[in-house]
Symmetry: C2
């Protein structure tokens, strides 16, 4: 289906526009201009129009966009018309924070299983889910038809967990361990590195931007 | 000093190269080629050379880069030759995870104060630091000469906290609250949105990449 390469920055902004449109819709607003979206999220109106143009024609010239329609279209573009079945591996502080993060559920990401290798944590209930031993990962992830894995384990065991997830049929992995991981080409991998964000800040500070 | 606009993706990759070079240096390796760096972090050799070229000439043709020299140069580019004084505001699960995150200290980011508004948390010690009331934020942040603020509070109070941090002289803010924040132009703001990363994954899955 895709013929044009969509910049990742566009996808990231669409995700932001989408959250903003949900907010605006809740306030009962019916139509919105690209300028108003731009102002709400802190980009230029031309950027909003360019990002949307990758995916077709939206809105009516001189009138703007129907908030509800555009919101639904952008959700669909982002693959969020449906619910996603997510597993979380590693229940340290970060894992605990992620397991309780409300933003995931709101956007259709349902954490349906949690794994750890600490006997003190196995069997406890976190956010309504029983924490299971990593030994059961492959079986449970496969049985649940889990599409996405979130990894918040230590760097040392991260590749091992990735291998288990891939074997169990997971299609996409979000990795918080600060290590380079290998996945087969059919699996999507995305790394979230908390330090990188701080370093972009310090680079900008030092370069006098 | 800066005349050329450096793409943010370059800065993000430099941060990744930098961590990789530290790893390689620890193994006692003296020289490295762009191909080896590229393989280590999962990008193309041409990308490594292009990213470094923004900042001058590094390495010797046919020999490669001195690991230690390049590591030091990249750190300096990223503004990491020195230590940064960081405050953390909001000690929920995510805040707790961030306060204990080892990666920050390793890269020169020292959390020197932690604030929350929950009486049950104020006065407790987290990672050697006494949690203080937000009422004391402005005074303490200013006294410590704090340059960077990390915000992991709820969306409702995030702007209020930003205003306090700016007033107290913070130069850069890393925000984990899923909300659009306003800062004066001289302050660097960066948002980390945990959901956006998942949505880039689902977009890629749906578009059949």
């Amino acid at each position: 289906m895709k013929t044009l390469k969509i910049p990742e920055a566009t996808i990231i902004r669409l995700s932001v526009y989408s959250r903003y449109l949900t907010e605006v819709e809740r306030k009962g607003i019916i139509t919105i201009s690209s300028g108003e979206i731009a102002e709400g999220v802190g980009v230029s109106p031309a950027q909003v129009r360019k990002d949307l143009a990758y995916f077709g024609e939206f809105g009516t010239r001189g009138v703007g966009y129907n908030v509800k329609d555009l919101g639904r279209d952008v959700l669909k573009i982002l693959g969020l018309g449906e619910d996603w079945n997510v597993t979380l591996v590693g229940l340290g502080n970060l894992g605990l924070a992620l397991s309780m993060y409300k933003g995931f559920k709101e956007r259709g990401f349902n954490i349906t299983s949690i794994f750890d290798n600490d006997p003190a944590k196995i069997g406890t209930i976190v956010n309504g889910i029983e924490v299971m031993s990593v030994e059961r990962l492959e079986e449970v992830v496969r049985k649940n038809n889990t599409q996405i894995g979130i990894i918040s384990v230590s760097s040392e065991v991260a590749q091992e967990i990735v291998n288990l997830l891939v074997k169990a049929g997971v299609q996409a992995i979000l990795n918080f361990a600060p290590v380079v991981l290998n996945v087969p080409p059919e699996v999507e991998l995305r790394n979230v590195d908390l330090t990188v964000s701080l370093e972009v800040l310090t680079f900008n500070l030092k370069s006098g931007k």
